[in-house]
């Protein structure tokens, strides 16, 4: 019996159901020289899905800078690796779990955390921090509250149990995410710089070992689902969402790290999207080897699973590794100590083929390189987003009372305090979190060293929508600034590019524009991309999300004692505004949330000024000159100062300096980039030093009192400000629906 004849016949309908188009199917026929059977079709389908192949984005991703002297491993592996000195490396990546989280928020978000943790410890790193960038729909949408509750519980449920602190992230609300929320999870891990593990494996006859949870029928075709638009009836896809088991993940982390301390492992790969298929292909393809799998040896959760189901299952908490011959018993002892399943499920060959057997019978036989190399790469048509006109500050109405406008902004869904969320995450386990959630960047000590890592996730989707290129650059710049604001030297970033359907030229134009802006900023700031993930088809019934290229940044603080935060520390200090203020109100939160307008171009990003200002601030922090520092972003100067006052429980009085200023409301709420607010003992001396470095700086107020006194408004007591800022989210979440 020929292979093609085994199992059910492949029909045109089956091809379409596997998300493959005619061209792609023709290429399959050419590669195989025959018709595929259903198992083989399924494997092509997942390997060539957008999720696994990056077929629409590859051309553009290649333009991003990925090199720097401290980069140990850039994109292409499970996670990026950078040298952080003293023999240590930071290993990190961000990944989306958008579609599953919309369908089943708890498990979708939980398994998103589990998956990204595995990407990091697969490389030999102990995960030391998690972050999450979340985007939800309009708070008034009937599903939003349920999705927020489920996603937050899922992230907490997984991360808390695994015992990795969830230290930071971001949350936005916008009607554009009503039918398509974004759940982007990032993990940062710590490894010895000379003990990094990769997926490439070669060596004919070497054993392929499976470890972790048993394989079940869950998550089959998750990667294909993540590569298609949503339509009515998406809830029916719930069975394709995987179920997470954080306890098993914790055991798997410990067992893998224990095995990695020996010399047994040649190559290792977690079973994530497309499970056993993708992991075995990846290892063999990178190592130039062939693979033979004996599926009857795969630990299964239930009887009667078919080869198709086993190869495409996305059951969680599973690892695949190639061991040195003779090390099987060592591995078995370690995994059994941790009560995990372990089995030799095949071996490497030198045939260059993947041969899948079940009880000795060949059920699939595919060439590895042609399949990987022939994976489609598209140069999809793209049209640039129409440019929006700049808005002059004078054309934007001023509020009657600046304080009222500030109170209103501080209580909006985007700017309101997110304590309700991060207090459900264990952000202190491992006892190295020195900069907790709520600051510009979280700071986690490098255990056993005097150093610390700063980390943050950033994106301003409304800027990306208004001008993808500026928005892409701004996301990178804000990430760089947030790391700088705690005293860290930004080293590298991971990106998570969330967009709509790339087959639409205007969506592809957003993707191309954002990547272009990111590239410019990465180059200007020496801030390379070392890992990333692309999530496309984030659309429901033809409506796309806002373009959302999330940047996950990591920076290094050489001496952890020098890090600072954004809380005002004592009364009587000078408040200094660093950076140029032109009062840019286009695409600002003031415009959107106070005036109800979504127009205008976003702020320009002057990358030279970013670099100059940031480097000056970072040196001042290192030298101990600043008592607090905060990056200026959403809501501008007034919002930043309010956040600093609340964090320190100390008031402040703000006064506009003499001279050329934009209109008061633009000065207070404009969102010009490359700016920081800092507090110092001697404002004049600080400004003089800044001017000497070519950096604009001006004293704009003093700390002290129990209220915030803005020009052009009544003083606002800190209590009132806190109620506004902290009140919205708990009230929203705990309202009886």
């Amino acid at each position: 019996m020929s292979l093609a004849a085994s199992g059910p016949q492949v029909t045109p309908q089956a091809v379409a159901e596997h998300g493959l188009d005619e061209d792609e199917y023709a290429r399959i026929l050419e590669i195989l020289g025959r018709e595929p059977n259903l198992l083989e079709l399924g494997i092509f389908s997942v390997m060539w899905s957008e999720h696994c192949s990056y077929k629409s984005s590859k051309k553009w991703l290649k333009t991003l800078p990925t090199q720097a002297p401290h980069v140990i491993c850039g994109p292409g592996e499970n996670a990026g690796v950078i040298d952080i000195g003293e023999g240590y490396a930071a290993v990190f990546k961000m990944e989306s779990h958008n579609h599953p989280s919309f369908i089943e928020p708890y498990q979708g978000a939980a398994t998103g955390v589990g998956g990204i943790l595995r990407d990091v410890f697969t490389m030999g790193a102990r995960p030391i921090a998690n972050l999450n960038a979340l985007r939800f729909g309009d708070p008034a949408h009937p599903k939003t509250r349920h999705l927020v509750a489920g996603v937050v519980a899922g992230i907490g449920g997984y991360g808390n149990c695994v015992g990795v602190p969830t230290v930071g992230g971001e949350v936005n609300f916008d009607p554009a995410y009503n039918g398509n929320i974004l759940v982007n999870a990032m993990t940062v891990g710590l490894a010895k710089a000379d003990r990094i593990f990769y997926s490439a494996a070669a060596g004919a006859g070497y054993p392929i070992v499976y470890a972790g949870s048993k394989t079940g029928r869950d998550g089959i075709h998750g990667a294909t689902m993540a590569s298609a638009e949503f339509a009515e009836g998406t809830e029916e896809k719930r069975p394709t969402v995987q179920v997470g088991d954080p306890f098993t993940e914790k055991l798997l982390i410990e067992a893998c790290l224990e095995l990695m301390a020996t010399d047994a492992i040649i190559g290792i790969q977690d079973m994530g999207a497309a499970g056993l298929t993708c992991s075995s292909f990846e290892m063999a393809s990178k190592g130039g080897a062939g693979v033979e799998l004996d599926l009857e040896k795969v630990p299964c959760r239930e009887d009667g699973m078919t080869p198709y189901e086993m190869m495409l299952s996305e059951s969680q908490e599973r690892m695949l590794m190639v061991l040195q011959p003779g090390k099987q018993d060592l591995a078995r002892r370690i995994f059994e100590k941790w009560d995990l399943d372990v089995a030799v499920v095949g071996h490497l060959t030198d045939s260059g083929r993947m041969v899948i057997k079940m009880n000795g019978e060949v059920v699939g036989d595919l060439p590895i390189d042609p399949l990987a190399e022939a994976s489609p790469e598209y140069d999809r048509p793209h049209t640039p987003s129409p440019a929006r006109p700049e808005i002059a500050a004078d054309d934007v109405p001023a509020p009657e009372d600046a304080g009222d406008a500030l109170l209103r902004l501080m209580a909006t869904p985007d700017l309101s305090g997110k304590r309700w969320i991060w207090e459900q995450y264990d952000h202190m386990v491992m006892a190295d979190t020195i900069g907790r959630p709520g600051g510009d960047a979280a700071v986690v000590r490098v255990h056993g060293s005097g150093r610390a890592l700063a980390m943050t996730s950033d994106c301003t989707p409304r800027y990306c929508e208004a001008d993808p290129r500026r928005g892409g650059a701004q996301a990178v710049a804000e990430s760089w600034r947030n790391l700088t604001a705690v005293g860290a030297r930004p080293l590298a970033l991971t990106d998570n590019l969330n967009f709509g359907n790339p087959e639409r030229p205007e969506i592809m134009g957003q993707l191309v524009g954002c990547i272009e802006g990111m590239r410019e900023a990465c180059e200007a700031l020496d801030y390379p991309v070392v890992s990333g993930n692309v999530s496309l088809y984030n659309e429901t019934e033809g409506k796309a999300i806002l373009p959302t290229p999330v940047i996950g940044g990591v920076g290094l603080i050489d001496d952890a004692r020098t890090r600072i935060d954004n809380a005002l520390k004592q009364a009587g200090e000078a408040i200094v505004l660093v950076g140029e203020t032109t009062g840019h109100l286009g695409a600002s939160l003031y415009l959107r949330d106070v005036l109800g307008r979504r127009d205008g171009a976003p702020p320009p990003v002057d990358l030279a000024a970013e670099r100059r200002n940031g480097e000056f601030v970072r040196v001042q922090i290192r030298d101990g000159a600043l008592s607090a520092c905060h990056d200026l972003a959403d809501g501008g100067l007034a919002v930043a100062l309010a956040e600093m006052a609340l964090a320190g429980d100390i008031g402040a009085t703000l006064a506009r300096p003499a001279g050329d200023n934009p209109p008061l409301h633009a000065w207070l709420f404009g969102e010009d980039q490359a700016r920081y607010l800092v507090t110092v003992k001697d404002g004049e001396a600080f400004c003089e030093a800044a001017h000497g470095a070519g950096v604009s700086a001006v004293v704009i107020g003093r700390t002290g009192g129990e209220s915030l006194d803005l020009p052009g408004g009544q003083p606002i007591s800190l209590d009132e400000l806190r109620r506004a800022h902290e009140g919205w989210l708990p009230a929203y979440m705990e309202r009886i629906a």
Binding site: N160, K250, D339
Partner: protein, 229 residues
């Protein structure tokens, strides 16, 4: 002084407490695997925080029946000082070494934040470095910290001086608003009758280092080292 930190599958504060205790001891405690049925003689046993066995049945319930617990129960009953933190506290109540139970938090959510506790008595191995009535700032991080025992048991525990810590406001008042999880009588930590076993929900090991923005937890470890060395 010798100390043992017990490692259950799913423990995740084992290293944290090893570091904090080791800092006070000047040497590292030994780590004891849950499958051990005996281990060397030690002066102190610590059950760390985490999610032992995933807490899938009921927090601490499976750990209470693990091989190593038979030995620990035996030793604790014979007076070996035993400290259970968070999940360790849950294991101690599940195994009957401490009275009461820890139920799901009153608002049903996991909660992680700094809270204040009042030291109810300085008359113990564990709290001798504090003043009675002193307020400490220590984090909690749990889903099941809602302490419950019937009124008669609570009355008797109060009488015997078995209440170690109570949730309070920053000024030391054990008021309802300062109770993060619905615990009976704001109880955050309890002793056995002989005060050789302490279970507490807050994590002293997480604030035992000024770099972590607080040092209030260190007194527990220092007191134990002083008493047991």
């Amino acid at each position: 002084m010798k100390a043992a930190v017990i490692v259950f599958p799913g423990s995740n504060c084992d290293r944290d407490v090893m570091v904090a205790l080791g800092q006070s001891m000047g040497s590292d405690p030994i780590m004891v695997w849950h499958k051990e049925t005996s281990f060397e003689t030690v002066d102190l046993i610590v059950l760390p925080g985490g999610f032992s066995y995933g807490d899938y049945l009921r927090s601490g319930a499976m750990a209470a029946n693990s091989p190593v617990m038979r030995e620990i129960i035996h030793r604790a009953e014979n007076g070996v000082p035993t400290l259970g933190i968070c999940n360790g506290f849950q294991v101690l109540t599940e195994s009957g070494l401490l009275p009461g139970v820890l139920m799901r938090n009153a608002d049903l959510k996991y909660i992680c934040k700094d809270i204040h506790v009042r030291v109810e008595t300085a008359q113990s191995l564990f709290t001798a470095r504090y003043e009675s009535g002193q307020t400490l700032r220590i984090p909690i991080a749990h889903h099941d910290g809602n302490y419950f025992a019937d009124e008669a048991t609570l009355d008797r525990m109060e009488e015997m001086g078995q209440i170690a810590l109570r949730y309070c406001d920053p000024k030391g008042a054990a008021i309802e608003n300062a109770n993060p999880n619905g615990s009976a009588r704001n109880i955050a930590g309890v002793f056995n009758e002989s005060k050789t076993v302490l279970g507490m929900m807050p994590h002293p090991e997480r604030l035992a280092d000024p770099a972590l923005s607080g040092n209030d937890g260190r007194g527990i470890f220092d007191a134990l080292v002083e008493a047991l060395s």
